[in-house]
Symmetry: D3
Subunit: 136 residues, 6 copies
Amino acid sequence: MVYITRREHFSAAHRLFLPENTDEANFEIFGKCSNPNWHGHNYILYVTVKGEVDPITGMIIHLRHVSKLIDEKILKKVDHKNLNLEVEFLAGKVPTSENVAIGIWNELADGIKKLGGMLHCVRLEQSENNIIEYFG
Amino acid sequence: MVYITRREHFSAAHRLFLPENTDEANFEIFGKCSNPNWHGHNYILYVTVKGEVDPITGMIIHLRHVSKLIDEKILKKVDHKNLNLEVEFLAGKVPTSENVAIGIWNELADGIKKLGGMLHCVRLEQSENNIIEYFG
Amino acid sequence: MVYITRREHFSAAHRLFLPENTDEANFEIFGKCSNPNWHGHNYILYVTVKGEVDPITGMIIHLRHVSKLIDEKILKKVDHKNLNLEVEFLAGKVPTSENVAIGIWNELADGIKKLGGMLHCVRLEQSENNIIEYFG
Amino acid sequence: MVYITRREHFSAAHRLFLPENTDEANFEIFGKCSNPNWHGHNYILYVTVKGEVDPITGMIIHLRHVSKLIDEKILKKVDHKNLNLEVEFLAGKVPTSENVAIGIWNELADGIKKLGGMLHCVRLEQSENNIIEYFG
Amino acid sequence: MVYITRREHFSAAHRLFLPENTDEANFEIFGKCSNPNWHGHNYILYVTVKGEVDPITGMIIHLRHVSKLIDEKILKKVDHKNLNLEVEFLAGKVPTSENVAIGIWNELADGIKKLGGMLHCVRLEQSENNIIEYFG
Amino acid sequence: MVYITRREHFSAAHRLFLPENTDEANFEIFGKCSNPNWHGHNYILYVTVKGEVDPITGMIIHLRHVSKLIDEKILKKVDHKNLNLEVEFLAGKVPTSENVAIGIWNELADGIKKLGGMLHCVRLEQSENNIIEYFG
């Protein structure tokens, strides 16, 4: 079993808030991330796939296929977008890094399986200091 | 003459557009950065100060003073904010990295002089691939 | 189960040695890290917490609380300090990265639990080439 | 149990291809990595060793011994070399990152054991976007 | 005057040698970079353009145009290629980082001018430890 | 004229203080860097040399010679040392990054000239946030 990881990145706006709350209550829970005028990040996304190495090609899966899948399933939907308003797979969720990572997992798991690997980890770095990992 | 640099960072939302243009015309000029629903970045800011080294203390200026100045004059105004809607020193400007860097220069130059140095360069990394430098 | 990581850093002096040994014997075991006049590092610290995502807020735990805990329990005690002479939670230990990481774990585990998460990993980078991980 | 990691790097040329295939068939499988005139990379190698911390020295193993072992067993054989033509431990294998990582594991595992630790992971970054991990 | 930089990367094989020299003489001059079986690198390329900021758009030049120019004029010719055998703009030159940087400058200068900027610097990182800058 | 840079690193202890001052007065000037029990850093050192490219070899100077010079003149004297107590070229100076960079310049300038280049810049990163550059 070998693990192979592809790194991608995207930039997006978001706001952390519960619509039923006052701005003060949201600030209490989410801090400055609840600014009603939005803010944003450069997200770095690591997608890790595990699988057996093909004894002939020496590969689990070609990373250009993983990269193409991530582009179609994720980057086209989130890059230079507003995570609260424009991303179907996050609809109704607070777009915390936790929820974004889980959403990305759900979008990718089937496609990775069709490529012949198994999704192992989605790692999302919202900044160099704040990192989320989800293993399904 | 020695050059000393302080690195800081902030996260913000923005949109590049000219209000008199249609969305199509804005997309033609600014590409996906013109998304009307905003997007955002983690900006890395490098502020470089030049000056003579004090022969007794061995310092030009203590970086904690530079850091405090940047925090008061810049970070409190831009971190987790919307650069189009909430930042007075960018009012009426398209918040491109060029304009943000020039705006930061104008906010800092006097304060740096009062601390005993001279502002030399404002460097703004909007992403690891896109970097702006302004020397006044 | 989701894993969330906060990155922090501190700078400190240390010396690796056994007081009952001669300088030569210490050099044999610890190499140039046993210099009696001290040396030091910029340590990068990653603290990983695991937990269930709250279905309402979309968070395990707000990272500003983790950051505040690390600041109080760790950074105030070690930043710009001498790890051999000034850090109570390392008293009587050789301040190798292994022992520093274990000491940090012991200082943080209870506080993380009170915040509603579980400490999963303390990762300490003594330099870009030398890294320690401790999972409790 | 503590995990300690040493980071090293080397530069090498390689080509991904199956000798029985036409260039077109190789391009179909391996993409531009099959260029018959070779290409190359700066590889970053992380070797992770696990073990108990010696209660006296506070170390699992001194990283300079791990570093020396990696230098002798790996770097001398692959740095500034052609992975297809000059590396005995890769003979007959397509030098994908998967196979290189597995080959490095096999070269190091015994030596690490003799040093008193257990090899836990070989991580190979072929570029900042493409990463392989092998756990034996 | 503002300076804007685009970061790109490519991977290539090369060999440093003078064809009239013996292997020993080449090794004397170029060290292990003269290996007759090639080796290779991940090159990081920074292209810096200077210009006046357009008072309406707030941009010197849109970086996607710079990026497209670099892709056409440079990356398509060097990425996953052999710098000695396959790159026309390096023909007859020893492909040191110095010569590669100068070659890239010559390929880009006119195109940057047509885009409305002036090429200021080509910076080429052959590894994290070895960097070349050329200002024309 | 081309500029070539070599990156190296070292770890050292230091303390910023004026011996004629009280601890309080030193703290007022130097902050926590004046801790009497020392602290330390991982310093990253960039040495930039400028020169004409040799039309035959395509090099200004081989970086392995620069690297060897830095090792002999600087790293052997400062790595894993105490900058206040053990470094002759800093004797009588407060070991601020400014003074360390100037000291390194003075140690290297002649040797670089003998190698056939001209020292252009000494850049010293005391941390990822604090950087000094000296151009002689």
